[in-house]
């Protein structure tokens, strides 16, 4: 018997949250991927670069999270738990690189929920978008996440 999820979550906007990027987190993230690019790791190379500092790898903004707006918060809204969840799709649009010491404002909302039956059974697809702006409200990046819930 498939579980029910709360489709009323469509349109839900999570509370905005601010992230200040730590230099060490950028390096830790690059190293966890095994990406030794000096533009992510070497402060001297960063200072001499067009950005004046190291920059984060393209997928780094996935680390921007807050317990009031993360996947855990989404699951509480949906009425399900983490053991049923898979990452279906992910998209980044990057307008300029993320740098250490800067603060960013993240606004996430649920755009859509739809159900499909795949070879492993019925699934719900939850589409979220997170807009990341700087403190002057200029857009820096957007992320689109599709979370799959096995029903």
């Amino acid at each position: 018997m498939p579980i029910q999820i709360n489709k009323g979550v469509v349109g839900k906007e999570f509370p905005p949250y601010v992230v200040t990027v730590e230099r060490g987190k950028i390096k830790e993230f690059a190293r966890a991927i095994g990406d030794a690019n000096p533009f992510h790791l070497d402060d001297r190379v960063g200072r001499a670069s067009p950005w004046g500092d190291i920059i984060a790898p393209p997928t780094f903004t996935i680390t921007f999270r807050d317990e009031t707006a993360d996947t855990g918060a989404l699951l509480r809204e949906l009425g399900t738990d983490i053991s049923r969840v898979l990452h279906g799709e992910q998209e980044f649009e990057i307008f300029r690189p993320i740098r250490p010491g800067e603060s960013y404002v993240c606004r996430s909302k649920v755009l859509d929920v739809y159900e499909k039956t795949g070879k492993s059974g019925p699934m719900a697809f939850v589409v979220r978008e997170t807009a990341i702006t700087d403190t002057t409200n200029e857009i820096v990046a957007t992320m689109r996440h599709i979370t799959v819930v096995r029903l």
């Binding site: 993230f29 533009f39 670069s49 053991s83 799709e89 990057i94």
Partner: protein, 144 residues
């Protein structure tokens, strides 16, 4: 050459990205990625939990494979060049799997001195099965 500069003038539709080979995937890398990303879903750490969840055991964060694909792009086009990257997680990456990231140029366009190269990108395991498929756009400088 690694971390070199690619000029848009030297890129043609159909060109292939230099493949980036990652792995074999070890549990320690998944633990490290959990810490670095903040994604502590036990399905990537705890084999018993992953089996009880019907997943047949631990598998890698999709975002780790996406990070590999992003690295393949920046190794080629340079850090800070990626404008768009969108993927579907098409298959699970398991412990001991090797992940090879590949790509191919689909289109090249220039507008207001911004040169954009669109690519199809994917990652496959050691059996040639695609685990990530998607598209990317990178901004490249020109020689002019």
């Amino acid at each position: 050459m690694k971390y070199g500069t690619v000029y848009v003038d030297d890129v043609k539709v159909g060109d292939e990205l230099p493949p980036l080979v990652k792995g074999p995937i070890q549990q320690i890398q998944l633990t490290r990625y959990a810490g670095a990303s903040g994604d502590f879903n036990p399905i990537h750490q705890d084999d018993e939990f992953a089996r009880a969840a019907g997943m047949g055991g631990v598998f890698a964060h999709g975002m780790l494979s996406m990070g590999f694909v992003a690295q393949a792009l920046t190794d080629w086009a340079g850090a800070g060049s990626v404008r768009k990257l969108g993927v579907r997680f098409a298959g699970l990456v398991r412990l001991k799997d090797t992940v090879t990231c590949k790509g191919r140029v689909l289109a090249i366009s220039s507008k207001d001195d911004v040169h954009t190269v669109e690519l199809e990108v994917w990652a496959e395991n050691q059996r040639g099965e695609k685990v990530v498929t998607g598209k990317a756009a990178v901004a490249l400088p020109s020689r002019a």
